[in-house]
Amino acid sequence: MSQSPAPVPFVDGLRAAADLRLPGSGHAWLDAARRENLDAFIAAGLPDTRAEAWKYTALRALSQRRFAWGDHTATSRAIDPKILTLPGVDGPRLVFVNGVFRADLSRLDTLPAGLTLQPLSQVLEQDPEPLRFALSRHYREASDAFARLNAALAGDGVVLRVAAGARIGKPVHLCFVGASADGDLAWHARNVIELGEGAELDLVEHHLSNAPQKHLATLVSDIVLQDRAKLQHMVLQHASEDSTLIRHGSLHMGAKSHAALHVLELGGGLVRHDVHAELRGDEARLDTRGVFVLRGRQHVDTQLAIRHQALNTASESIWRGVADERARGVFRGAIVVAQGADGSDASLSNKNLLLSSQAEIDTKPELEIYADEVKAAHGATVGQLDERALFYLRSRGLPHAEARALLTTAFCRAVFASLPNETLREHFSSALLAHLP
């Protein structure tokens, strides 16, 4: 289905990438895995809208562009450290500029006990063997095209481990910065994260950029939660509105583990976010919350796939979308309850505000149920702000724009009510408000 008859500049440009020297090159298995993934990506090309997973996100424009594959001066690009700070986030920090680890901007000196935190490039140069399994993964689905590209070209990222039973008090801050470069740049980061039995971690993932170029970034994260582990994962995406950002996260959850994901998508020109969660152990629980607020010509596509595979697992997902001006918001929330996953309780709600006649919302909540002792429900709406509420606020003297912003914030705020880090929650709210027109 995804053959490329005519030469596609994007794919053509990739052939040169085969000769890139990446961290870890020289290890036969890693070279083979990278080569294989690159060949597979070039053979299949970019997925088109006939592929179900890309039905609402056309990559035509992207396919016509050429990128530089890697930034050789990333380590010396000037970054104002002030832009990296987030209120309420003062733990260890790992900073990547154009996909390359920056020791000078990171904060790794005083790691709490039980936490191993290293850039992937370092691990690959020292001893990549422990990552063999994670880095030799094969991606076959059309939705995984960029994961394949990432597997072929990523040379840096985060390797994070929390030892069994360790509770990491301060949130770990991962910062991905797109910086000004000599031309359009493609960079890739790969994260391997594992929480041992009963481990607890707060993780903040922060995307930002100040580059005038139209970078392409791909980020693949494999997160494993062993039994009874607890993860709070918060994502603030504030990339520049010219950039393309593709994130692909997979989450494997053991028995009685608990993961909570909070996502705020504000930036990016073309953003695709895939979350594949597998609740593999009995009584695992996943909560996902997310908001995108779009304007201009932004296009954000969130694809949530949650698979209940064990007894008494639960998932609750609450997502909100706001599309203004000429923006397009796409949401897919698929819940699968596998055979034998009795006692599963799954719910998903996706509500959207469509604020302009040039904007578009496409949403597709899905349920696939193969067990009968289940509770599963989903709901999705597309609508606009309540005229009466607007009138109420205006009659009390609020200007139209302000009344609109207030109601829109209220619409989105519910999503972050469950965020335990209060300072960060407030920051999310004000970032959201600032982003509104």
Binding site: L354, K364, P365, L367, E368, D372, A376, A380, Q384
Partner: protein
């Protein structure tokens, strides 16, 4: 034991026998009458022969050939959540008609009438009592239309498609393929090339059709497919309620049924289309059964028009069907009410499409899926609001009920909204019959099977009340029969 699912009295009499026999397909008899059929196979020649056999004019033959040529270029669709065995289109006979062609209802082969009798179709005398005008399609040919005269008096045309092509070519040429174009999809293209007969309904301006119109389809001959084509046109301010029922005998092979139904509603017209589909579902191991691949679409062409689809789907090995509404006229209304039940190894992928184009258009979708045994039951729907559809409104509710641990119930709703004044809402739930509900009924002395059928009946009520009365009774009974042996 034969089927008599038309009157509650007979049903009650048979209930004990049915219970004793366990679940079986009650319409599974074969009527042994001589049939004329084309040899199996599909080619341009077959299409020409078929057209010649039916004495069709040149334009119709060309229309078919165009569709056939287009079909050859199309790939088989694989997007539905269905596991379809390869279909050998060359092994199917595309035309089978009862040999003694009837001149009028009185000339109809008594065996054939007997077959309809068994099915409980109120043909002939019984029709008068029931007050339903019936066009019965047996294999490929329409065998008789009742109440012609009464309908003609008010100007309603209700006849077979072949007759319409001969008698009303200008109407057919104007509307045929205008809702479902020949190349719309794989099975619609196939149907356009080889459709053998079907019903044609024309309700002139301002006429409220005085009775419910009805078609009964039956596949009788082996190795045949049924490809009927229905076209209903309601002019300005007209109203019609149309019922459709289907059955087929038990056979080990899979038979193909690829129909196309087109509805056209002009200004202020109102079409209500109800289906009770009870094609042979195959046996418990999934052998045999009908492949039911149907394209149904209504076009609300005029302002303030309304099209309402109601379907009860209990039969067929595989159902692939999405009755849709194109809401073109301002303030037009589309409705879809569905109960789909799958048992044993049946597969259903069904739902609807509501395309909002006109201003102030409204649509409502209520879908109830019940899966039992090892079956798979999916709702797949699209609600699309185009840029110009100011103030469009949609409400969708999809509920699934699971009976047993080996079945699947799935929901795939698509919502595409391009207008900021539109409101689109979708809600879906999946659950099983709760132990609490069962316990409540059991503690009041209601047997388990009765309790289940009562709960299922309540689950489907929202849809059943949209059905015309006699159909509602049939649907309820069908559901009960289909669910026998599903519990315990």
């Amino acid at each position: 034991m034969t089927i008599e699912n038309d009157s509650p009295a007979v049903l009650r009499d048979n209930a004990d026998v049915a219970a004793a026999l366990g679940r079986r397909y009650e319409a599974g008899f074969i009527t042994d009458i001589e049939t004329d059929s084309l040899p199996p196979g599909l080619s341009e020649d077959i299409v020409r022969q078929l057209s010649a056999l039916k004495g069709e004019p040149e334009w119709m033959t060309e229309w078919r050939l165009k569709a056939y040529r287009h079909w050859l270029t199309m790939p088989t669709p694989h997007w539905a959540k269905l596991n379809i065995g390869a279909i050998d289109f060359q092994a199917i006979s595309y035309y089978a008609s009862p040999k003694n062609r009837p001149k009028s209802l009185d000339d109809v082969d008594p065996k054939l009438l007997e077959a309809y009798d068994k099915l409980g179709v109120p043909l002939h005398e019984r029709a008068k009592l029931a007050g339903v005008a019936v066009d019965a399609v047996f294999d490929s040919v329409s065998v008789g239309t009742t109440f012609r005269k009464e309908l003609a008096e008010v100007g309603v045309i209700f006849c077979s498609m072949s007759e319409a092509i001969r008698e009303y070519p200008e109407l057919v040429q104007k509307y045929l393929g205008s809702v479902v174009p020949t190349g719309d999809n794989y099975f619609a293209a196939l149907n356009s090339a080889v459709f053998s007969d079907g019903s044609f309904v024309f309700i002139p301006k301002g006429v409220r059709c005085p009775m419910e119109l009805s078609t009964y389809f039956r596949i009788n001959a082996g190795h045949t497919g049924q490809f009927e084509r229905t076209l209903i046109i309601a002019e300005e301010g007209a109203y019609v309620s149309y019922l459709e029922g289907c059955t087929a005998p038990m056979r080990d092979e899979n038979q193909l049924h690829a129909a196309v139904v087109e509805l056209v509603a002009l200004e202020k017209a109102n079409i209500k289309y109800s289906t009770v589909q009870n094609w042979y579902p195959g046996d418990e191991e999934g052998r045999g059964g009908i492949y039911n691949f149907v394209t149904k679409r209504g076009d609300c062409r005029g302002d303030d028009s309304k099209i309402s689809w109601t379907q009860v789907e209990t039969g067929s090995a595989i159902t692939w069907k999405y009755p849709s509404c194109v809401l073109r006229g301002d303030r037009s209304v589309g409705e879809f009410y569905s109960v789909a039940l799958t048992h044993h190894r049946q597969q259903a992928d069904t739902g609807t499409k509501m395309i909002h184009i006109g201003k102030g258009t409204k649509s409502k979708i209520v879908s109830k899926g019940i899966s039992a045994g090892r079956s798979s039951n999916s709702y797949r729907g699209l609600v699309k609001v185009e840029k110009g559809a100011e103030g469009a409104r949609n409400y969708t509710q999809c509920d699934s009920l699971l009976i047993g641990k080996k079945c699947g119930a799935h929901t795939f709703p698509y919502m595409e909204v391009k207008n900021p004044t539109a409101i689109v809402e979708h809600e879906a739930t999946t659950s099983k019959i709760s132990d609490d509900q069962l316990f409540y009924c059991r503690s009041r002395g209601i047997g388990e099977e009765d309790a289940v059928s009562m709960i299922v009946d309540g689950f489907c009520k929202q849809v059943f009340r949209e059905l015309p009365m006699e159909f509602a009774v049939e649907a309820k009974k069908l559901l009960e029969i289909s669910l026998e042996g599903a519990v315990g």
